[in-house]
Amino acid sequence: METIKYIIKRILQTIPLLIIVSLISFFIIRLSPVDPLAELKLNPSVSPETVEKEKARLGLDKPIIVQYGKWAISFIQGDLGVTSTGEKVSQKLAERIPNTLLLTTLVIFLTWLVGVPLGIISAVRWKTPFDRLMTVLTSIGMAIPSFFFAVLLLMFAVKTGWFPIGGLTSPNFGEMHFAAKIIDISHHLILPVFVLFTISLAGLQRQMRANMLDVLDSDYVKFARAKGVSDNIVIYKHALRNAVNPMITLLGFEFAGLLSGAALTEYVFQYPGLGRLILEAVMKSDINLVMASLMMGAIMLVTGNLIADILLIVTDPRIRSRA
C-alpha cells in the first residue's frame, strides 16, 4: 500500500515539471523571429481556411500568455496542429516515436546485457590485464563522436554492400510477409544500434565497475569472505545485488543521453525517428512540429526517469520503507 502511495506521489510530481518544461520550450520557440505560419501560407496545397484555423487556434493576434494558454489547452485535448506540409502533427509523431523507442530500448537492453557482466568481471579482476584492456577500450568508446562513427560505418556499408544504407525498411517492404519484414527491419537496425551501443556501453561498463569496486570494499563483503563464503556467492549474492541498485537510477539518465545521442545517429543513417523529425522541423522552422516533438522528448525522458524510480522501489527495500 505504502509503495503504491509513493508511486502515485511520484507520478503526480511529474505534472508540474512538464508544465515548466512546456513554458520554457514555448517561450524559447516564440523568441524566434520567424512567422510561425510562413511555411503554411506559402504551401499551395494548404487551403487558406486551414491557415486561418491555425491562426485562430494559436491565437497569434493575442498576447503571448494567451497564446500559451491556447496551446496548452489544445495540447491536453490531443490537438497538436498541422505541420508546414499540412499533415497532422500527431500522426507524424505517432509514426516516429515508436521507431525511436525501438532503437533506444534495443540499445539499452544490449548495453545492459553486455555492459553489466563486463563491469563485474573488470571489478573482480581489478588491475589485471583484462581490466586494463577494458579501461583502454572504454576510453576509446567514449571518445568517438557518434556522428563520425556513424559516417565511418556508413562508408563500410557502402563499400561492402553488406548492410542497407540508411532508412528503416527496404523499398519493397510493403510486399513482404511477416517474417521477412522482421528480418528486413533488423537488418536496417544493425548499424544504428551498433553506433549507439558502442558509445553507451563504455559509460555503463565503467559505472558498473565502479559500483562493484565500492561494494567489494565494504565491510559486509569482507565479513562474508571472512566467514568463508565462497567467492561466487560473495560476488553474485552479496555484492552484485547492492551494486546494481545505483545502476537503475542511471537507467533514466542513460535513456536521456540516448535520446540526445540518437538524434545525430538517426540523422546520418536517415533513420525515421523522433530525433531526425525534430531536426528537420527545426531546419524548416516548423513551429508546431518543433514544439510537439520537444514536449514528446521531455515526456519520454520524464517517463524514463519515472520507470527507473519505480524499478528502484521494487528492487531496493530500503527505499520502500523510507517511502
Binding site: I20, M142, V151, V158
Partner: protein, 342 residues
C-alpha cells in the same frame, strides 16, 4: 595543489602521452599562421577535391633531391564519366622552408596540399589548424560561462533552502528534462542569420553553457547542503557576514576539487557538442572553419568513398577527446581518491 596534480599526471603513462598530444595540438593551433601553408580563406576553384600532394625526395634518376612535389591536373574521363586527377610531371615544384612567414611553401605556380582540398579548393590541412582554434577553445569558453552560473545558482539554492530551493530546483530539473541535444539545436536555430562570425561564435558558447549548467548546479546544491551546517559557516553567520559573502567566500571554495574534476571531465562533451552542431550546419558557419563543419562534407557518399582525406577532422576530434578524457580520469584519481571510476 596544482603542482601536485601536474606531477601525478606526468607520472601516469597514459596521462603523460595525452598531455604531450594536447600540447602538440594546441601549439600547432597557436602557431597556425606559421605552420599552415595557406590562409583560412585561400581557395583555388580549379583545384576542388584534389587528393593530398605527393612529396618526393628521390628524383626520377634515383638520386636524393631537395623535397619537391608535382601539381595535379584535373581531367574529365569521357568514358567513365568521372573526374580524374593525375600528376603534372612536367614541372617540379621545390618545397621551400621558412619562406614568406610560413613553415613550408612551394615556389611560384606550385601548390602543396598535404591533406588534399575540399569542394571549394581550400587546403584541408590549413583549415584543420584554423578550425581547431574554434573547436578546441569553444568548450573551455562555455565552461567558463557555465561554471560561475552553476556555482552561484546551486549555492543560493542550497544555502537558502525551503521555498527558494524548491522553486530553483524545479526550474533546473525542467531544463534537464528536455533532451539536451533537442534544446541545443532549437536554441541554435533561432539565432538570427547575418551575424558576424565572432557574434555567432560567442552566442554558440552561451548556448552550450545554457545546456549544461542545470545538472552542475544540482550537484553543487547537494554539496552546499552538507557544508552549510558546519561550524565555520555558523561562526561566519554569527559575526554577521552577509549571505552572499558566506556563499561565495566560505561555502563555494569548499567545492573546488569537485569543480576542477567536473570541468576537466566535461571539456570533451562540449567539444563533441560543438562539432555535432556544426556538422548539422547549425553551429559555426562557412566560410569559417571548425572540425565539425569540415566534416559536413563527409555526409555525401561520394566524398566518403573517393575523398577519405575529408574525414581527417573526425580523427582529430577523436584524438583530442580521448586525450582530455585520460587527463580528466587521472586528475579525478588524484583529487578524489575515493572514487574508482576508471
Amino acid at each position: 595543489m596544482i603542482k601536485e596534480v601536474l606531477k601525478q599526471l606526468w607520472k601516469d603513462k597514459f596521462a603523460r602521452i595525452a598531455l604531450i598530444v594536447l600540447g602538440v595540438i594546441y601549439f600547432a593551433l597557436l602557431t597556425a599562421d606559421f605552420i599552415a601553408p595557406y590562409s583560412k580563406d585561400f581557395s583555388d576553384r580549379t583545384m576542388a577535391y584534389v587528393p593530398p600532394s605527393k612529396v618526393f625526395t628521390i628524383d626520377e634518376n634515383g638520386k636524393f633531391s631537395r623535397p619537391y612535389t608535382y601539381n595535379y591536373i584535373r581531367e574529365f574521363d569521357q568514358d567513365n564519366l568521372e573526374i580524374k586527377y593525375s600528376l603534372d610531371r612536367k614541372t617540379k615544384h621545390y618545397i621551400k622552408f621558412f619562406k614568406n612567414g610560413h613553415l613550408f611553401s612551394t615556389d611560384r605556380g606550385g601548390r602543396i596540399f598535404l591533406l588534399g582540398t575540399d569542394i571549394n579548393g581550400r587546403d584541408v590541412f590549413s583549415r584543420l589548424l584554423f578550425g581547431g582554434r574554434i573547436s578546441m577553445t569553444i568548450g573551455f569558453l562555455a565552461l567558463f560561462v557555465l561554471f560561475p552560473i552553476g556555482l552561484l545558482y546551486g549555492g543560493i539554492s542550497g544555502y537558502f533552502g525551503g521555498k527558494v530551493d524548491m522553486i530553483m530546483m524545479r526550474f533546473a530539473e525542467a531544463i534537464m528534462s528536455i533532451p539536451s541535444f533537442y534544446l541545443l539545436i532549437i536554441l541554435a536555430s533561432i539565432l538570427p542569420s547575418g551575424m558576424t562570425s565572432t557574434q555567432r561564435f560567442l552566442l554558440i558558447v552561451i548556448i552550450l553553457a545554457l545546456i549544461g549548467w542545470a545538472g552542475f548546479a544540482r550537484v553543487v546544491r547537494g554539496m552546499v547542503l552538507s557544508i552549510k551546517n558546519q561550524e565555520y559557516v555558523q561562526s561566519a553567520q554569527a559575526i554577521g557576514a552577509s549571505k552572499f559573502r558566506i556563499i561565495t567566500k566560505h561555502i563555494l571554495p569548499q567545492t573546488t576539487s569537485f569543480v576542477i574534476v567536473a570541468m576537466t571531465l566535461s571539456v570533451p562533451s562540449y567539444i563533441l557538442s560543438e562539432s555535432g552542431l556544426s556538422f548539422l550546419g547549425l553551429g559555426i558557419q562557412q566560410p569559417d572553419a571548425s572540425w565539425g563543419n569540415m566534416l559536413k562534407e563527409a555526409q555525401e557518399f561520394t566524398n566518403i568513398l573517393y575523398r577519405p582525406w575529408l574525414l581527417t577532422p573526425g580523427f582529430l576530434i577523436f584524438v583530442s577527446v580521448l586525450a582530455f578524457n585520460l587527463i580528466g580520469d587521472t586528475i579525478r584519481d588524484v583529487l578524489d581518491p575515493k572514487s574508482k571510476v576508471r
